[in-house]
């Protein structure tokens, strides 16, 4: 059962991303991305991280992607994105990307080398305890970060009277 869910979600996720690469319509891209994020949320759930899964769906698939869609509506681009040309750059990027991919796989193997499969990494309760003890400073600072981001975005994109 779990395997079936995993495979379905993985395929959905990878497929959505692949579709995004192929598609040239930004709105579609955004929707593909919603799909990818939502299925990732499911995968998070499979990893015994229900809270992360919920946040993923709410914040990512919900809030952030809505933001993207708003932005796309604002631009209201008529013409589709241009066709990609194969250039030296693309070849270089592909080559480097492949190397990176191999490296990442190796790194992943290395990372798992010392792992001892134990039980679940603790429930929401453990996570909360962690957040408000060891990571308290970081947690508080993120709130500041969000505030700063908010102000920054307003300052950047807000209508200026004189500009």
């Amino acid at each position: 059962m779990a395997w079936a869910v995993f495979i379905v979600l993985s395929v959905l996720c990878v497929g959505a991303v692949a579709a995004m690469i192929v598609s040239r319509n930004q709105a579609h891209n955004a929707l593909f991305l919603v799909l990818a994020f939502a299925s990732l949320g499911g995968l998070f759930g499979l990893l015994d991280a229900p809270f992360a899964a919920a946040v993923q769906v709410l914040v990512y698939a919900g809030a952030i992607m809505v933001l993207f869609l708003f932005a796309i509506m604002m631009f209201n681009l008529r013409r589709p994105a241009p066709r990609e040309k194969k250039t030296l750059r693309a070849a270089l990027a592909a080559g480097l990307g492949t190397v990176l991919f191999v490296e990442l796989v190796l790194a992943a193997r290395k990372a798992l080398a010392g792992s001892v499969p134990t039980g679940a990494p603790g429930g929401i309760e453990g996570l909360g305890r962690l957040l408000f003890t060891d990571y308290l400073y970081a947690f508080e600072i993120t709130s500041l970060l969000i505030l700063a981001a908010l102000v920054g975005a307003l300052a950047l994109a807000g209508k200026k009277e004189d500009a």
């Binding site: 955004a30 990818a36 990732l40 998070f44 952030i64 993120t142």
Partner: protein
Amino acid sequence: MIPPPAFLFLAVLLFGLGVLAFFVKKDLLTQFMAVEIMLNAGNLAFLSLAKAFGRAEGQALVLFVITVAAAEAVVGLAIIVVVFRQRRSLRTDELKDLKG
């Protein structure tokens, strides 16, 4: 019970796709989305490793990554809006102002 290495492989695959998307696409917005994919691949890796080692720290980090990503998305989109207002274009092969 699915073994964590499978998730980890999926994360690597997603990251690779994100990189690919970033280099293939030529409009700023979609490239930005590609960055988000890479971030999520990272999250998946964190969670799978958390599972593999049975520790909650990975999950906590994911929360931070999501918050930072939210902040980043807000500012990034604001910048894209400003760029679009000024240039009427989001094509990265047309934006060359970084040239010194």
